[in-house]
């Protein structure tokens, strides 16, 4: 496995945090309240200039994020700018403002790849536990509005202590009742709002194991229809692959180093204030300023980004916490954003995704990941 990944001349996709405003107050928000981040929005004209530069760099897709993107009154002017600059787009929303008229207009652009709506429960009571009162019905209505106009809609379920026992009902609602082809899951990260630490946001190890069991069972019932790039289901699958590799004596190729994320070789992000950042999980790592610094130069030469890509060369054997770990050779070190939040550097493994640590936490309760759960 080569040390360096292929680096394209410019990013194919760019995440755009088009507004820092939000009309929700989700307890686990990763976006707001990050120290050292400026929460200020670029004007319409500045974004249109950014789109022109993205087009000149042959960027193919942009993701419109926030905050809540639909709060921008000029949203369709921005979308028109994206279309005029020969790009496609997708959108992430809490659904609160996504009316049928909005969905129709979005579909009429012909360039929208998908819209992601957040839904954490099968009922208002559960969904609104951490997302706030009155957020469930509009989210469900938004999904229906998107379905009616034939736009691909994905739903993101953030797993937390309050919905672990509701996961089967959420799955039934989304896949059986609403007929979605799939949905995705994750869990709260340590980024952002600090008040998440005061309440029931993070799962205990025992709860996390229960969430893994529930999702693994559902994944077996609905093969290929529950997606996960992070969170309990992703960890469950990754940890079992690592254990299988350990038992077989054949490490997973290319691992044993900090190879946990390849995003930085394919995409970039721009904050609401125009700052270039490697990804939305690293909002403090400013690489330059859109409109002032060349996108191509930032992409190819920003020292912090170059260093982030070099992270892949760092062997896990260089970390004391990894020494003697039986899964070291198949470990990726996981997300650099998570590592930065928890350890103040990207050049370490992310502690929250450590298999050995998780197993030790479970052992305190007489449990193990490898226990039969069905």
């Amino acid at each position: 496995m080569p040390d360096q990944t292929y680096l394209m001349r410019t990013p194919r996709s760019v995440d755009l945090e088009i507004t820092s405003g939000c009309n929700a107050s989700c307890r686990y928000c990763y976006y707001l309240n990050n120290q050292g981040v400026t929460y200020k929005d670029l004007s319409t004209e500045r974004w249109l200039e950014v789109f022109a530069e993205l087009s000149a760099c042959q960027v193919m897709n942009v993701s419109l994020l926030g905050g809540e993107p639909l709060l921008r009154k000029d949203l369709f002017r921005l979308i028109d700018g994206i279309v005029a600059n020969r790009m496609r787009f997708d959108l992430m929303s809490n659904g609160s403002l996504l009316s049928s008229a909005f969905a129709e207009r979005l579909a009429a652009t012909g360039r929208c790849d998908q819209v992601q709506i957040s839904l954490d429960g099968s009922s208002a009571e559960i969904h609104e536990t951490l997302r706030g009162k009155g957020t469930f019905a509009p989210a469900v209505k938004a999904i229906e509005n998107l379905q009616k106009v034939g736009l691909p809609v994905t739903v993101r379920v953030t797993v937390h202590p309050g919905n672990i026992d509701d996961l089967a009902a959420i799955t039934a609602l989304l896949l059986d009742e609403m007929g979605l082809p799939s949905f995705s899951t994750n869990e709260a990260s340590a980024l952002g709002s600090l008040d998440k630490y005061d309440g029931p946001t993070f799962m205990t190890p025992v709860q996390r194991l229960q969430a893994m069991h529930n999702l693994a069972d559902l994944d077996a019932c609905y093969p290929g229809r529950i997606e996960a790039n992070a969170g309990p289901l992703a960890d469950w699958k990754m940890f079992h692959a690592m254990e299988e590799a350990r038992r077989g004596g054949l490490p997973i190729p290319g691992r044993g180093r900090l190879v946990g994320c390849g995003c930085h070789s394919q995409r970039l992000a721009i904050r609401a204030d125009g700052a270039y950042i490697p990804c939305v999980m690293l909002p403090q790592m400013v690489l330059g300023q859109a409109g002032l610094d060349s996108l191509t130069e930032v992409w190819q030469g920003a020292p912090a980004l170059v260093a982030l890509r070099e992270r892949r060369k760092i062997a896990l054997t260089s970390f004391p916490e990894c020494l003697d770990c039986p899964w070291l050779a198949s470990c990726t070190g996981n997300c650099p954003g998570g590592a930065f939040t928890l350890t103040e550097t990207v050049d370490r493994p992310c502690p929250s995704a450590c298999l050995r640590k998780f197993q030790a936490e479970l052992a305190v309760h007489g449990l193990s990941l490898w226990d039969e759960h069905r």
Binding site: Y6, T10, S55, Q58, M60, R86, R88, R111
Partner: protein, 102 residues
């Protein structure tokens, strides 16, 4: 510009569809991205060089000749290969015949 696949020959003066994006990711190949369809075609180096010469003014015969400036060993078989490429791209709506009277 019209899109008439059947009449493409070495005298055709073809132009690219300006709505498409040629994305050169490295020295070996490029992606031809159609934002309306969301589709991507991979072009090799020689196809990229031809694409860049499709200005609606030069004939395909002139373009094949000009390839000698960039590549060695451009032979008669190259003409047929270029015609096949042009017909494929035309079917995708990526290029069209330049019609001065249109």
């Amino acid at each position: 510009m019209t899109e008439t696949t059947s009449i493409i020959d070495l005298n055709s003066r073809l132009a690219v569809n300006p709505n498409l994006v040629l994305r050169e990711e490295d020295d070996d190949c490029a992606l031809l991205f159609d934002p309306d369809r969301g589709s991507v075609q991979i072009l090799n180096r020689s196809a990229v060089e031809i694409w860049k010469r499709l200005d609606g003014k030069r004939s395909l015969a002139e373009i094949v000749l000009s390839l000698n400036e960039t590549f060695t060993g451009v032979d008669e078989a190259a003409q047929e290969q270029v015609l096949q490429l042009m017909r494929s791209l035309s079917e995708l709506g990526a290029i069209g015949v330049w019609d001065e009277n249109a």
